[in-house]
Amino acid sequence: MAGAEVWFLKTSFAELVVALGDMFHSILHFTETMLNATYRLCGYLASLCIVTILLVVVINIYDRLTGGYTPGTNEIASYCVGAAGALGLAFAFGEGKHLKMTLLVSRTTGSVRKMIDLSCLLIGIGLSGFVTYFLAKMVYVSAVLEDRSTGMDEALLWIPQAPMAFGFFVLSLSMIHALATQLSGSQQ
């Protein structure tokens, strides 16, 4: 009888582990899907910024031809370049577009290469996190002090600054994501 009870316990424990594992796995899967969607979404927002630059400059040209004047167009274009560049950072990271020097690294193989890749990611995460923190602080300070642009638009400065900070935040996320993927990959 006692043996049967232990056997029963064992089964449920094993089932529990499997169920937990499944749950964990689906949470992981969900997180991963959400993360990838975030990178893509930021990429689309960056595209939107570029289209906005085009529209704003076209308005500029139209104004010049007709003698009209729309205040703040130059500022909006400037904000959009910054936002476009920053929001696309994670997307470009995922596509392997950020330049790096691979001349030496490409000569290493196996575990050495793995260690190098991991340390690059760790350094990148550290630096990207550092930048994100201070950009976020800049946005916070601008918002609290209600800093305004000195240009014609007199916009609240935290608004164009925020996408910059968010872009670097998502880049940091994507690098952590890459680190996690690589670590779990090396365990299998």
Partner: protein
């Protein structure tokens, strides 16, 4: 003494980060942080955030994504096909025949695109198969393509010149004007090389193409018309001072959209693809700018570039010696770094040196772009070599050997640029003369 130790630490940090394969933007940023820690006790995080923001969200950069987008749209249109069949009747009778299409095609597309990659890919995808079909030797077909692709960086609009102009705060319009003649001079050197091959080698003499009929020439002109119109409105409006580079870029994007709409190549899908491509390149450059802007700031804190300028000034080098030394230095760096990274990294340190030596910053922009172009066609990391290899499948070694004569011609172009600075400075001068 203490500062020498610090300098060594900074250099080692930079080399270690780059060598490890850390993304170059972050390598520059990390080096800047180390320099700050060594030279000041002040907190620098807030200054870093402000610098990165103010160098990215700036009006002078706004033409950058637009010029990239224009190239991305045209790359997806059938412009390259029109370029080939339009140029062929006009050029094929020259000694060297259809090979001239590589050079002329690249020079033409360079007026419509800011990058050498887009220029080379657009022209090469059409010309390489055609040239092979006509029996031209790979050594010339691939070599001239790899070489001619580099003029995309010099002939306006040029993404590299925009990045340089923003870094050293010089007028992008003037830089564009300064790039025109050196770009054309380089193309002329490549063409002369092909003509020489056509005249003085047995193989070249045997490869004469048939003369085109008047009708063929006329048809060719019709096919080139949209291209010519776009070049006139984009480059022409910048040079004549009618439009700023940003406005010209917007006109270029609209023209490119109209052209692909007219050709039936414009779909929602291709539009999104072109925008995606634009975002990728823009963000790639943005990370580099973020890193280099902070490195410049931190170098200014340390005062090292000023000391270096003083030190080099005390050596009493003639400008020619300084330029020769810089050429060798850049060629060496070009073995490890691409043009963007090289320019952004070195200008953070070298800008005071160049200014103190009394070198014109506009001229220097053309010089540094020309020298960084040479790195594109030399192993081990020449982008153009890899690109031509992926278009043709000929193998990296073969392409690199084929491109070597072009490398020598570019060296000649550097010498000419140094001997006759007017090649770069003449156009900006008349441009400025008119507008002032």
């Amino acid at each position: 003494m203490e500062s020498i130790a610090s300098v060594i630490v900074i250099i080692i940090t930079l080399l270690a980060l780059l060598g490890l394969g850390v993304w170059i933007g972050f390598a520059l940023l990390g080096t800047g942080i180390v320099a700050m820690l060594l030279f000041t006790d002040l907190p620098f995080g807030d200054a870093m955030a402000t610098t990165i923001y103010s160098h990215s969200a700036t009006w002078s950069l706004s033409s950058l994504p637009l010029f990239i987008w224009m190239g991305e749209i045209l790359f997806r249109s059938n412009l390259s096909q029109n370029l080939f069949s339009g140029l062929s009747p006009w050029l094929r009778r020259l000694p060297g025949g259809l090979l001239h299409i590589n050079v002329m095609g690249c020079a033409t597309f360079a007026c419509l695109s800011g990058s050498s990659v887009a220029t080379l890919a657009t022209v090469g995808k059409m010309s390489v198969p055609e040239l092979r079909k006509h029996g031209y030797p790979d050594s010339l077909a691939l070599g001239s393509l790899a070489g001619a692709g580099t003029v995309g960086l010099l002939i306006p609009p040029s993404i590299t010149l925009i990045v340089y102009g923003v870094t050293v705060e010089e007028s992008i319009g003037r830089l564009f004007a300064a790039g025109v003649l050196p770009g054309l001079m380089l193309s002329a050197l490549f063409s002369s090389y092909i003509v020489c091959w056509g005249l003085f080698t047995a193989q070249g003499r045997s490869m004469r193409e048939v003369r085109a009929s008047l009708k063929e020439k006329f048809d060719g002109l019709l096919k080139l018309l949209p291209v010519v119109l776009m070049i006139a409105s984009v480059v022409g409006s910048i040079l004549s001072g009618v439009a700023s580079p940003v406005e010209a870029a917007a006109v270029g994007v609209l023209g490119a959209l109209a052209l692909s709409l007219f050709q039936g190549h414009l779909s929602v899908e291709s539009l999104i693809q072109s925008l995606n491509g634009t975002v990728l390149v823009t963000s790639m450059i943005m990370l580099l700018i973020a890193g280099s802007s902070f490195l410049s700031l931190s170098m200014a804190y340390t005062g090292l570039p000023g000391e270096l300028a003083h030190w080099i000034g005390a050596m009493n080098l003639s400008p020619i010696t300084l330029i020769a030394a810089l050429t060798l230095f850049f060629l060496f760096l070009g073995m490890f770094l691409d043009g963007f990274s090289m320019i952004l990294l070195t200008m953070a340190v070298l800008e005071p040196v160049v200014r103190t030596a009394g070198i014109d910053m506009i001229w220097f922009g053309v010089f540094i772009v020309l020298v960084s172009e040479m790195a594109l066609i030399t192993p081990p990391i020449g982008f153009n070599i890899f690109l031509v290899d992926s278009i043709s499948g000929a193998g990296v070694g073969k392409v690199a050997r084929a491109a070597f004569p072009m490398f020598l011609l570019m060296l000649l172009a550097v010498v000419l640029l140094v001997l006759f600075p007017g090649v770069a400075l003449w156009l900006p001068e008349i441009m400025m003369g008119r507008s002032s």
